[in-house]
């Protein structure tokens, strides 16, 4: 069997993998990533110098066999992974788990923002558009939210203020991000400009314009940093359950989960979602079937940008409490989250949580050990790489294996009584191109 043939068979196998199998593959990848990471930690622990060993490696000594060798290492892989995962979850195994008042809150905070950026990228991916510009859309949404809420805030106060201003802020963020996302969408649809290039460039433009606006026009005169005046407390997400200092709100997390359900419903159960998915799978066939390709691209980019803008709004209303330049790279992390999730909106929740754990765990590792942050970054990257690879090859396999195998697979799913909406949907469109929805 040639190597090529073998590769194809592996791809086919991956394509045919059931949900449980995919979960098991991910778990095995995680274990493998930890194994490789352990070796790297040990090697790095021999390349640096320290006074006291953090970790000893020796052979088992049954029946009083004398110790032949013992190697000391500067970094302890067990502690590193213990802190990376359990530390981020506030030590659920320690007996007195208090998830509400510690690092777990930070984990959820990161997760909340990443759900939005992950959804943003995933939605565009499903439409066959690579939105690398979520970061820029998030920055625009964040500034729009901060400025609009600052402007309106004096009109309200107290609980009414919260009830009005938080939804208002989210709306403004979504509109701002959406408009900014519509630009590359329109450029792709009507001027045939490659969206990868335009979105990347628009990231720089967003950062530059925002820096100018915040440092010259809307700057807080009392601060050295480039930031706006702080929003009043009643304009921010109210803190429920968690300690105030962690900057996490369960309500924001609920909004994020609602967005997940909404995007899932939109993609799987609406005619517009069908247009998006069809354009993503086979743009030519979709257009032949009556999908207005240009309109779908613009609409999906606008929605994707709106989700990015929501991430920015949540960042301002939940974490910072004002707008400050130097927005963390949640938008770029969103690309990874979307790939990890296989562009499935429901999977985005899980992927964002894994990513949130890794991000929050990194700070715990740095705090609890002497392992340099760069090394922790490598370990984090390894985990993501290993977990994302099978999904990546699945996406690749779908392209290579071709549509006929794809349809075979779908057919078996359908006869199993699985969700068959994909097969029902075409019938409702009865080939006229217009469809019942317009």
């Amino acid at each position: 069997m040639s190597a090529r043939e073998r590769f194809r068979r592996i791809l086919d196998r991956l394509l045919a993998a059931s949900g449980t199998e995919r979960a098991l593959i991910s778990l095995a990848s995680l274990v493998l990533a930890i194994a490789v990471g352990t070796v790297i930690i040990l090697v790095a622990g021999r390349m640096t110098t320290c006074e006291t060993a953090a970790f000893w490696l020796t052979h088992p000594r049954p029946l009083g066999v004398p110790e032949l060798f013992r190697v000391g290492f500067c970094y302890d892989p067990v502690t590193v992974y213990d802190r990376l995962f359990l530390g981020a979850l506030d030590d659920p195994l320690s007996g007195n788990w208090s998830p509400l008042d510690g690092q777990f809150a930070v984990t959820l905070r990161e997760t909340t923002v990443l759900v939005f950026t992950g959804l943003s990228v995933a939605l565009a991916f499903r439409a066959g558009v690579f939105n690398i510009g979520t970061q820029g859309q998030m920055v625009v949404g964040a500034l729009a939210t901060a400025l609009a809420v600052l402007w309106v805030a004096p009109l309200f106060s107290g609980v009414v203020g919260t009830l009005v201003l938080v939804p208002f802020g989210l709306l403004v963020g979504a509109v701002g991000g959406g408009l900014y996302g519509a630009v590359p969408g329109a450029l792709k649809a009507y001027a045939d400009a490659n969206e990868v290039i335009t979105t990347i460039m628009l990231n720089f433009i967003a950062t530059g314009i925002v820096l100018y606006l915040v440092s010259e026009v809307f700057k807080d005169p009392d601060s050295l940093a480039n930031q706006t005046v702080s929003l009043p407390d009643y304009a921010l997400f109210p803190v429920v359950l968690f300690g105030e200092q962690f900057g996490v709100s369960v309500l924001a997390l609920l909004v994020a989960l609602a967005a997940v359900v909404a995007v899932y419903y939109l993609l799987e159960h609406t005619p517009f979602g069908y247009d998006i998915r069809a354009s993503g799978l086979q743009p030519a066939a979709a257009e032949y079937g009556g999908v207005d390709a240009a309109r779908t691209v613009v609409a999906s980019m606008t929605l994707s940008g709106a989700l990015g803008g929501l991430a920015g709004a949540v960042y301002v209303l939940m974490i910072l409490g004002n707008f400050q330049t130097g927005v963390p790279a949640y938008g770029f992390d969103g690309i990874t989250v979307a790939i990890l999730a296989g562009n499935n909106p429901l999977g985005v929740t899980v992927a964002a949580f894994l990513f949130g754990v890794l991000k929050s765990g990194t700070t715990v590792v740095q705090f609890a050990t002497d392992v340099p942050p760069q090394l922790v970054g490598v370990l984090r990257g390894l985990i993501i790489l290993f977990v994302a690879m099978p999904e990546f090859f699945r996406l690749l396999g779908r392209r290579i294996a071709g549509p006929e195998r794809e349809s075979e697979r779908e057919a078996t799913v359908a006869t199993d009584g699985g969700h068959d909406t994909e097969h029902r949907a075409p019938e409702t469109r009865d080939g006229s191109g217009g469809g019942p929805r317009r």
Binding site: T49, V71, G72, G87, Q103, L224, A225, G326, S360
Partner: protein, 390 residues
């Protein structure tokens, strides 16, 4: 094929383990395998104490508390992290100095972005194993996060560099960057109007401008610009300053372009306040055979490959701030609520001439600069903090 695979794994395993044992570094306890541990900065690796690797909340803490309890110091660095050859490294120097003189143990944290400042501050404040006696927050971007954290943990002592938080448990340290920048500005103004040649650079007497490259424009960096411009004007009213803000503290290529444009338009000397972006300024100086002025530390030492073009550096003694705050805590004299302003008088800022070029700078340049230093201390010269006031 199967036995091949097994043999492969065996060989890899054995050689891997042997290789690990043979690696140069590792803990110094493991006698036989101890080597010379790589380059110098690696030996700066923080000392490991058992208490630090223990998980928080673990009960086995007694053995960690050896001897008299050392003073526990937590460091939260500015974004950009250690190894920047200026700001953060300078802060770390203060920590090392304190470690040499007092019984302290420390833990360092390097945040990637602004959202993480609060996380690290809280982790240090919350920790009970060890219980931190002082948390040093480096950089003005930490101000907002610290305002919140200091209020949430009123029992925890903090120190803040470059900004002020008005709370009883925060000691704030600010610097008179404009005063130090005035001195390097005056030196630049005096040098550019004469024919001066040293190392790899030279000035031409007929040029009448010098340059300033900033990182991200902010009030803090504008203080550098204001002092520099005032110093240049004080030396010679006819000399102009060309200013450019690159927009990033970590983009040497941007600094290089900005400085090249300045040198090409006739500037002899360029001063930068741009962190790692300044590396590009030095490179441009070498390419064009001109001079540059370093910032924060003596950069003719920390960036020694450029010592043939660095005439001087405006040092900002962040290490002094860190060191003295730790000293205060060790001596139970923590100055919570105070704002310490470190200017020329306190040696918080100053001019340091380059290692290689310093000795070649004529006395009729260094003399007036030294006079101005005294005049600023005595209040005879007042240096503006905003370039618009120059």
């Amino acid at each position: 094929m199967d036995s091949d695979r097994r043999r492969f794994i065996k060989v890899v395993g054995v050689t891997g383990l042997a290789g690990l044992a043979g690696c140069g570094g590792g803990p110094s306890e493991s006698t036989a395998t101890e080597g010379d541990g790589g380059s110098d900065d690696e030996t700066d690796e923080p000392e490991m104490t058992e208490g630090m690797t223990e998980t928080p909340g673990d009960v086995e803490t007694t053995e960690a508390m050896t001897e008299a309890d050392p003073t526990q110091v937590g460091m939260v660095y500015a974004t950009g992290g250690l190894g920047d050859g200026s700001f953060n490294d300078q802060a770390q120097q203060g920590l090392f100095q304190a470690e040499e003189e007092y019984d302290i143990a420390y833990q360092e944290a390097q945040p990637d972005d602004v959202a993480q400042f609060g996380d690290f501050q809280q982790q240090f404040a919350q920790s009970s194993d060890p219980d931190y006696d002082l948390v040093c927050c480096i950089g003005f971007l930490q101000t907002d996060a610290l305002t919140g954290t200091a209020a949430d943990y009123p029992e925890q002592n903090f120190m803040l560099v470059d900004s002020v938080v008005d709370a009883d448990n925060v000691a704030s340290y600010t610097f008179a960057e404009h005063e130090g920048s005035f001195l390097v500005g005056q030196m630049a103004g005096l040098l550019t109007t004469r024919d001066f040649s040293a190392g790899a650079g030279e000035t031409t007497g007929d040029s009448t401008n010098v340059g300033f490259v900033g990182g991200v424009e902010s009030d803090l960096i504008r203080k550098f610009e204001a002092g520099f411009t005032a110093g240049v004007t004080y030396a010679d009213e006819d000399v102009d300053v060309i200013t450019n803000y690159v927009g990033d503290f970590n983009e040497p290529s941007g600094g290089n372009e900005a400085a090249q444009a300045m040198y090409d338009s006739g500037a002899d000397i360029v001063y930068h306040a741009a962190g790692n972006t300044g590396t590009g300024v030095f490179r441009a100086a070498q390419d064009r055979g001109r001079f540059a002025i370093g910032v924060d530390r003596d950069q003719s030492v920390t960036k020694s490959s450029f010592q043939d073009v660095i005439v001087a550096s405006m040092v900002k003694r962040v290490d002094t701030a860190v060191y003295s705050s730790i000293e205060n805590v060790v001596n139970d004299e923590f100055q919570g609520g105070s704002v310490v302003s470190l200017g020329l008088e306190e040696d918080g800022v100053g001019i340091v001439y380059g290692q290689q070029l310093g000795s070649e700078i004529p006395d009729d340049v260094t003399g007036p600069v030294a006079d101005s230093r005294q005049a600023i201390i005595d209040g005879e010269i007042s240096v503006p903090t905003d370039p618009d006031d120059v």
